[in-house]
Amino acid sequence: MQNPYLPYPVRIDEIITETEDKSLKTFKFVFINPDDEKKFAYESGQFGELSIPGLGEIPIGIASSPMEKGFIKFTVFKTGKVTSYLHAMKVGDIMGVRGPLGHPFPWETLQGKNIVIIGGGFAFTTLRSSIISILDPANRSKFKDIHVIYGARSPGMLLYKDELQAWAQRDDIHMNITVDGTNDPNWKFLTGFVPTITEQKAPPGSPDTYAIVCGPPIMIKFTQPVLDNLGYSHDNIIMSLENRMKCGIGICGRCNIGKSFVCKDGPVFTLSQLNNMPKEY
């Protein structure tokens, strides 16, 4: 029997400060035992428990893509006890990671489909993982049109700025990068809230078109009617939820929404599924 509570030891290999307010940092981890990387075989949409001895664990979406080898990446917002400590850690420090946990986005269903990726704020991490996976030469032909709508409060609050720039140059992905507002005269992308940009830029709904939506509750609240108007079936709207977690494996009992655990049965749910669940998230 494998102890599911025992984290893999990892070393912090790189720390990137993502946003101008320094509230978001990306941590690149390397497994101390190389075999652990194979055991941590994951797909985009899954999460891990970052484990700091003496502080505790935090469930964080995996920002790296399984197509990227030799490391795993997590982008972490500084908000509580563990994340604040993590933000003060340095390259070379040792900690732990448990996972991969939860279900990924439904990649088998998504094959041969159009995908609209809609993200807001710092909920873009597993979406970054998804885009890297989709754009990989080994995978791109498996999907039809890819649209991305990603918004942040200001240009300085966008994650993965270099990659966004590079994706915007490509012709095999429709990038719609937007900010709530900016006085930067050099801003060359869009201005406007995510629901508005979705209304303008997202393709119409069809059985072959799926939307993956990750963002703050307010963004989700106003994006859903837009997708309804565009004709998206609730089976074709895929969301990723968060709840307070401890074990991450459906045992400790705190992240349930009705009979489903966000950790083990989610965090990915279709809107159809969520419509039949209590709103306890």
Partner: protein, 357 residues
């Protein structure tokens, strides 16, 4: 199944013998109540009880349990690398567990031992434990085990069932584990031929002494969101003070918290029983809380036991009818009343339903 008669001397000698091979737990009197304790040499379980105040779940699932250890000493190679704690694997023996409490272990097992994840701590302790039940000859007014999947002479979750007829003590061997235990304890004398008949009569009498019941037959068919939205939750939760006693004494409540505790340069990651009655149970780091209201937490407890569990496993309710939460609730919230309300809830005519209750 073998029926054995145990005389007083064999009983005492057997327990002392068992203590050499097992950690032996049994009910002992503590102040005004009984509790399960590990029995020292010469100490006997006290069977002059209705049931223990706390359920014996802690024997497999301690209230606080160290899972991992770590060192923060930078001079060590294993600094900040979590180490697994060797879990209970030495044999344990629980003597005198009531059939209701014994049923709780198979119910809880579905949570700790799923096809996807095995909670090694719980499973190893459970597998190392032999359960010797003690049939109830008379029920409390709060007992409703016969409508919760077992009965005063219920056998589920036990390796041996002990039955008392006056001063005589009988043991029914139920599993190979029980057989091994009986052999090692020297419990080998077959019961007299008419014993089985007498015990059956006792069983019938004991079952008849249970006057309380719950109806659970319609829970599965209810639409989850309708039951969740039922209008009685606020009213039922009104008197609740969210003290958590119900979750603490419950043999089937399994939720836990995980905390790190550091002393100097070394520390432990431990789990502790937790309670869905606490707002901290679900609060996000952002301050957002999906269950801010008291009634939402009360609803979670009952929906978990009587609907979510029922739907998820299709193995009945997550309740064994021991009645502890009813007896110990400081404000008289009664799971039987709530279960019946849930079972007969009809979303279409709920207004009439409430008026008549």
């Amino acid at each position: 199944m073998t029926l054995i008669k145990i005389d007083r001397q064999t009983w005492a000698d057997g327990i002392e013998k068992a203590k050499l091979a097992y950690r032996v737990f049994g009910p002992v009197k503590e102040k005004n109540d009984h509790e399960f304790k590990q029995l020292d040499k010469g100490e006997m379980p006290d069977f002059s009880l209705q049931n223990t105040r706390l359920s014996p779940k802690a024997i497999v699932y301690p209230q606080s349990q160290i899972m991992l250890t770590y060192s923060l000493d930078e001079s060590r190679d294993d600094c900040r690398i979590m180490k697994e704690v060797e879990n209970v694997t030495a044999p344990q023996l629980v003597l005198g567990i009531r059939p209701c409490d014994a049923l709780a272990f198979p119910i809880v097992r579905r949570n700790f031992d799923s096809p996807e994840y095995q909670d090694t701590y719980w499973i190893k302790a459970y597998e190392a434990t032999t359960f010797v039940g003690l049939a109830c000859n008379a029920a409390c007014s709060t007992c409703f085990c016969t409508s919760a999947g077992t009965g005063p002479f219920g056998e589920t979750g036990q390796d041996i069932l002990l039955m008392q007829d006056g001063d005589a003590l009988y043991a029914k061997i139920l599993t190979p584990k029980g057989e091994a235990l009986a052999a090692s304890m020297g419990w080998s004398k077959p019961a007299e031929p008419d014993a089985a008949g007498k015990l059956d009569a006792l069983k019938t009498k004991a079952e008849a002494s249970i006057t309380a019941s719950v109806s659970t037959d319609k829970l599965k068919d209810k639409i989850l969101l309708e039951l969740y939205g039922a209008p009685f939750w606020e009213e039922e939760a009104f008197s609740c003070i969210n003290c958590g006693t119900c979750t603490y004494v419950c043999p089937t409540c399994w939720c836990f918290d995980v905390q790190d505790e550091t002393h100097g340069l070394s520390g432990v990651r431990m789990r502790n029983w937790d309670s869905c009655m606490s707002p901290l149970f679900t609060i996000h780091a952002s301050g957002h809380n999906p269950r801010t209201q008291k009634y939402e937490r009360v609803r979670q407890r009952f929906m978990h036991k009587l609907k979510y569990y029922v739907d998820k496993y299709d193995k009945g309710i997550q309740c064994v009818g021991c009645g502890r939460c009813i007896r110990m609730c400081p404000v008289n919230i009664d799971i039987r009343r709530i279960c019946d309300k849930m079972n007969r809830f009809d979303a279409k005519s709920c207004a009439c339903d409430i008026a008549s209750s």
